[in-house]
Homo-oligomer: 267 residues x 2
């Protein structure tokens, strides 16, 4: 099975330009599962809810999903990409899955970061998608810091964590290695690069997209300066073996009755 990422430098607000570039880049590969960054088609730093409203799209009817369905079909790709979703009068920071056969699924980001809380509605469920021979667990950017996300996705059957990101903090790449070790899954983190400015503020995104295997090894990665499309062959069976030693299965060895505080309602 071939999996990988497309690390990008989107231009803020230029949806068509960003989508067209992605289609050009994706036309170089085929028969693969590729993760793109969070909000890849619009950029990240919305001034206000009105600006978000003008850039968010319907899923599946909008421009971006329609275009990416075409390239997915043409090149036999399964794509996972981040974009702003308009649904009724709400806006979600979403990750869309588009299969080579035209199937569309959506995960709406649960753990919103910083100013995202001003504009976006929080998602209400985690998402595992059956995709050909693999099960994909979807998480977006800041979801990484909550160990409950990748653990829940694993327990629901995910074998590959697909992780569209707009990372600005320096922690996630190393933490995703821990996520892979503790869950014995693959993880694809697709980050973006570039700087966005708004008023006197700016954000610089840190690149370093990577694919990590179930032993925590980074098997392919990108730097922080260039757009980068990388694909690698993996054996999905490795994510089905949960034994770290002959006597230790990291799923069977769990003692859920001792973890109840994790699932308790907050006070």
């Amino acid at each position: 099975m071939r999996i990988g990422f497309l690390q990008l430098r989107p231009k803020f607000g230029a949806t068509k330009k960003n989508v067209k570039k992605v289609i050009t880049l994706l036309s170089r590969v085929s028969d693969a599962t590729i993760v793109l960054p969070e909000l890849f088609n619009t950029g990240y730093l919305f001034r206000n809810k009105e600006e978000l409203a003008s850039l968010a799209e319907r899923i599946p009817g909008g421009y971006t999903v329609t275009e990416l369905k075409k390239i997915a079909k043409l090149k036999r790709l399964n794509l996972i990409f981040g974009m702003a979703q308009k649904a009724q009068r709400k806006y979600y920071n979403a990750a869309v899955y588009v299969s080579e056969k035209g199937k569309v699924e959506v995960y709406q980001k649960v753990h919103l970061f910083e100013r995202e809380k001003l504009f976006f509605t929080r998602g209400k469920s985690l998402k595992v998608i059956s995709s050909g021979e693999a099960k994909l667990g979807i998480m977006i950017c800041f979801d990484w810091i909550f160990p409950e996300v990748s653990r829940s996705l694993t327990l629901k059957g995910a074998q590959i964590l697909c992780h569209p990101s707009n990372l600005i903090l320096p922690y996630a790449q190393a933490a995703m290695k821990t996520r892979c070790i503790e869950n014995r899954v693959f993880a694809i983190t697709a980050n973006r690069i570039g700087t966005e400015r708004m008023g006197t503020g700016s954000l610089t995104f840190t690149g370093g997209s990577q694919v990590v295997d179930p032993t925590g090894e980074v098997i392919v990665s990108a730097g922080d300066r260039s757009e980068s499309l990388k694909v690698i062959d993996v054996n999905i069976e490795e994510a089905k073996n949960k034994n770290v030693t002959p006597a230790n299965n990291i799923i069977d060895d769990r003692v859920p009755s001792l973890y109840s505080v994790i699932c308790s309602k907050k006070k």
Copy 2:
């Protein structure tokens, strides 16, 4: 508050020798919370349950706890150390807390590693201890791989993860940085060094004891060749601030209703 570790090279089966060495080393410090390795007084590689039975001790009545209570009182230390516990007809891989005032508490390892399953009974609860100005969450070695352990301890109030270890795999030191970042706690991993042989097999322990702060930074560490006692001043208030950004509190941002699979009974 002063916290640290004592990295050791125990001699297998030589309890008195190991304890005396520790007392000599600990006499160099005072007014601190110090973590020692797992099974520091006996070594690790028990041939069989009979050998374990001959080396395990009662807690608090046995030799090791009695001796360490004396040095804890003399030097105003709070100590956390690993040892084999005999309790009725069961044996536990235990971590003992001895305070400067003579208070004794015990955590019995929940997630047993490899051959430990042949001899030891699994513990039935997690443990957070109020120790002066701090709350200590106790975990032993392989407990690290289960994110539920450090998360549960944090949710129960732990500010410092005290982590006696006999590590042979290369993953834990990096993973403990993730544990600190995702929980915003301190962690003290006290590992051992040296090689133990049994028949044709042997285990080499990897040292690299460390103290990590709530941002994931290693603030003091040891190599893999020498016994090492290191103590550092920390501000425990840093572990009470759970905000990674002004708008993101990593505890308040959790959505426990979405994590229920983690606490579900196994099928």
